[in-house]
């Protein structure tokens, strides 16, 4: 882990934090949104919040792929898992996401064959090893995980594995970001842009953020020093009245992304006209489905699924939390009716969700680190 340690140096972190403090004119308050759940996790995991001055507030964005899966899709997944002979394979992140009548963990206890995999290729292996079973991969994630699903589907097609299919819930990051920016009650001065997604799509697609909405965006890595440096870069832009896309994560993110991954995704997927996001509602062209060339591997075409839309629970204010309008603790059900054991809302589900991260790590009004 040598390579990583350099990005966790406490002395450098304090120096950066002191620079951040010095760069803000007194009396000014700045609200920054980290779009990606991975950043939310880092911020709490390392206590980065404690290093920031009071006048810099971090707001947690919509980039937790587990959190945004609507209940109806979870219900469809459970319906699939209950089909005779079906093995449903999914990432561990999905297991405790509530549908309208429970989670995958509950369905498994009821007898459904649901298996946790670490890669879509593992799901394909299960299909290869169990030719008498139908293996369905419950695909989730942004552009980060979509290429590996695409690669798996390409392989399944090439090898002619007939007992494998994919229930596709892949989503894309730009439409929800645009939807947030369009929202009249949004109060965000700048964005910490998603690092992993950008390794695939590149930095260029974010240029609409400063151009059309006049907000700076800095694509950031996930180590604590990455996040601090990105905050520093955003504040510099704000202080200097600049507004552009900058790339803090240059060691990984190229300007134009990964052309091979993009090509593969274009072959395997196509945009859905619209898709429902938990907490955010329907967003047009915000999700992927399998293209016609891959129709044979599409679980949605292979099975007749309920496809019932389940409304978000009324008490839940995840939408406001995701837009940064309210803090997790300001939600009416936070921590009482809605907890990590029995999550009502999407933000409480995964440890990357804003509410779960706050509940698990941030629940205390803490001392600021002296700089």
């Amino acid at each position: 882990m040598r390579y990583v340690d350099e990005f966790r140096d406490p002395d450098l972190a304090r120096a950066l934090a002191a620079e951040i403090l010095a760069s803000i004119e007194p009396g000014r308050r700045v609200k920054l949104m980290e779009v990606c759940g991975g950043h939310t996790h880092s911020i709490y995991r390392y206590g980065i919040d404690d290093l920031l001055p009071e006048c810099v507030e971090l707001v947690h964005g919509p980039g937790c792929p587990v959190c945004v899966i609507p209940m109806g899709r979870v219900d469809d997944g459970i319906a699939l898992a209950r089909e005779p002979g079906v093995v449903l394979a999914c990432f561990g992140d999905m297991l405790r996401v509530p549908g309208s009548e429970g989670t995958f963990v509950d369905a498994k206890a009821d007898g459904a064959d649901i298996r946790m995999v670490y890669s879509p290729l593992d799901a394909l292996r299960i299909a290869r090893e169990n030719p008498d079973r139908e293996v369905v991969f419950f695909a989730i994630g942004f552009e980060t995980t979509a290429p590996s699903t695409a690669l798996t589907l390409q392989r399944a097609k090439r090898e002619g594995i007939g007992n494998f299919s994919c229930f596709c819930n892949h989503v894309t990051i730009l439409p929800p970001l645009r939807a947030l920016l369009e929202s009249p009650d949004l109060r965000i001065d700048g964005f910490i842009g998603p690092g992993h997604v950008s390794t695939v799509i590149g930095a260029r697609p974010f240029e609409f953020v400063p151009r059309d909405y006049h907000r700076p965006l800095v694509i950031s890595g996930f180590e604590p020093l990455d996040v601090l440096q990105s905050i520093r870069m955003l504040l510099d832009q704000i202080v200097e009245n600049r507004c552009e896309v900058e790339n803090q994560y240059r060691r990984v993110v190229p300007l134009d992304g990964n052309p091979r991954a993009l090509e593969l995704m274009a072959e395997v997927f196509e945009l859905r006209p619209h898709f429902e996001w938990r907490g955010l509602g329907f967003i047009s062209q915000s999700a992927l489905r399998l293209s016609d060339a891959y129709a044979g591997l599409d679980a949605e075409r292979r099975w007749d699924l309920p496809g019932v839309r389940v409304a978000d629970p009324k008490a839940c204010q995840c939408g406001e939390v995701l837009k940064g309008v309210i803090k997790p603790w300001e939600c009416k059900v936070f921590g009482t009716a809605c907890t990590p054991e029995h999550a009502i809302g999407t933000c409480m589900v995964s440890s990357e969700g804003a509410c779960a991260a706050y509940y698990n790590y941030g629940r205390f009004a803490r001392e600021k680190v002296p700089l």
Binding site: P65, D93, K108, E330, G335, N360
Partner: protein, 364 residues
């Protein structure tokens, strides 16, 4: 923080409501048992404290200690029991038979009882190869020999193929309570120091890798061992200033620290940079998005000692073979009763909560 400040600050007020909700006794409200109930986190607590303890109605059981004093005879003896299910049954550094001895021995040891005798019950799956059974019988005998306990009672059952996974083992242990200490969570006080007997996460990581579910190779072995020599060294060094010990098994150091913080109404501060973790465990945990503090151990204990004996206790601990890496990892405070805080290497803080169920890898 004064009551007035809390009343004025809506965030603090809300958080206080949350803490009140959290401190209520656990209730078992689930429709059925899921794997989460076996993972040693919050779901397990709901099952044990919400269903089993009320059903059995024993005040001694309600203490939820690792081992309980046997009533009568001046309560000279302690008893504990545990069931072992692990897949695969052999893994780098040990096997189910060795675990079944050491795990029960350790529950006695951390309760301050010298392990004397064990009973061993086997549930065997039809079709289990005789060689595998013979190997585990040998592993049980060897581990018992090393821990200086005698297997004095036993039982076997065989179930149809598919009704068990090779073999399950239940062991019950009896030990002689050391008169020099009376260990209990309630003895823990603000100011006490927290000692950890060595590196964490070795066992859980070795098992995860041995399952071969992800293609990671690393040189990590289970830490399964008897903790009686460790416990005895601490008892000798700290005597009555040794407040409480726990072995950090399922749910890792995080679960044990939370259990004790809740049981004793104190808060704990763990300094992350002081917690010993082997680099390959850090690496594997990093890749899987799991916190080493949540990973199971089978040969590590947490000890709470009065501050004035902490240095001496740590020296004694480090002199025990296998505990050379022991460290003082934090202290007990009074600030936020029932919670465990971690000080990150930056000096920032986070809550170290227990998990609901098994640690789930973060993939996306």
């Amino acid at each position: 923080v004064s009551a007035n400040e809390v009343a004025l600050d809506p965030e603090r007020r809300k958080l206080q409501i949350v803490e009140t909700a959290r401190s209520k006794p656990a209730r078992f409200t689930d429709r059925q048992v899921t794997l989460a109930h076996g993972a040693g986190g919050r779901a397990t607590r709901a099952l044990v404290e919400g269903l089993l303890v009320p059903a059995f109605g024993s005040p001694t059981l309600a203490e939820l200690d690792d081992a309980a004093p046997i009533p009568g005879e001046g309560a000279k003896f302690a008893i504990t029991t545990d069931t072992y299910v692990v897949r695969p049954i052999r893994f780098p550094g040990g096997s189910i038979g060795e675990l079944a001895v050491n795990g029960t021995v350790n529950d006695l040891a951390v309760a301050g009882a010298r392990p004397l005798a064990l009973s061993v019950s086997l549930v065997l799956e039809e079709g289990l190869p005789a060689d595998e059974l013979r190997a585990e019988a040998g592993a049980i005998a060897a581990a018992a020999d090393r821990a200086q306990v005698e297997v004095i009672a036993g039982d076997t059952k065989v179930v149809e193929r598919g009704r068990a996974d090779k073999m399950y083992i239940c062991t019950t242990g009896v030990g002689a309570r050391d008169p020099r200490v009376r260990l209990a969570p309630s003895a823990i006080e603000p100011g006490d120091r927290i000692l950890l007997s060595g590196t964490i996460g070795d066992h859980g990581t070795a098992i995860m890798l041995a399952r071969g579910e992800f293609e990671l190779a690393a040189d990590i072995e289970s830490d399964t061992r008897s903790l009686w020599p460790t416990a005895e060294a601490l008892i000798e060094a700290a005597g009555g200033s040794l407040r409480c010990m726990r072995d950090a098994t399922r749910g890792g150091v995080a679960s044990v620290a939370n259990e004790l913080a809740r049981a004793s109404g104190v808060s704990m501060l763990v300094r992350e940079s002081a917690v010993p973790v082997r680099p390959p465990v850090v690496g594997a945990a990093e890749l899987l998005g799991i916190d080493p503090l949540h990973i199971a151990n089978e040969g590590k204990l947490l000890a709470f000692v009065a501050p004035e004996v902490a240095a001496e206790a740590l020296r004694a601990l480090r002199s025990v073979p296998g505990c050379e890496g022991a460290a003082e990892i934090g202290e007990v405070t009074a600030e936020a009763p029932g919670t465990v805080l971690v000080e990150t290497p930056f000096g920032g803080h986070r809550v170290m909560d227990e998990l609901v169920g098994d640690p789930l890898p973060r993939i996306c």
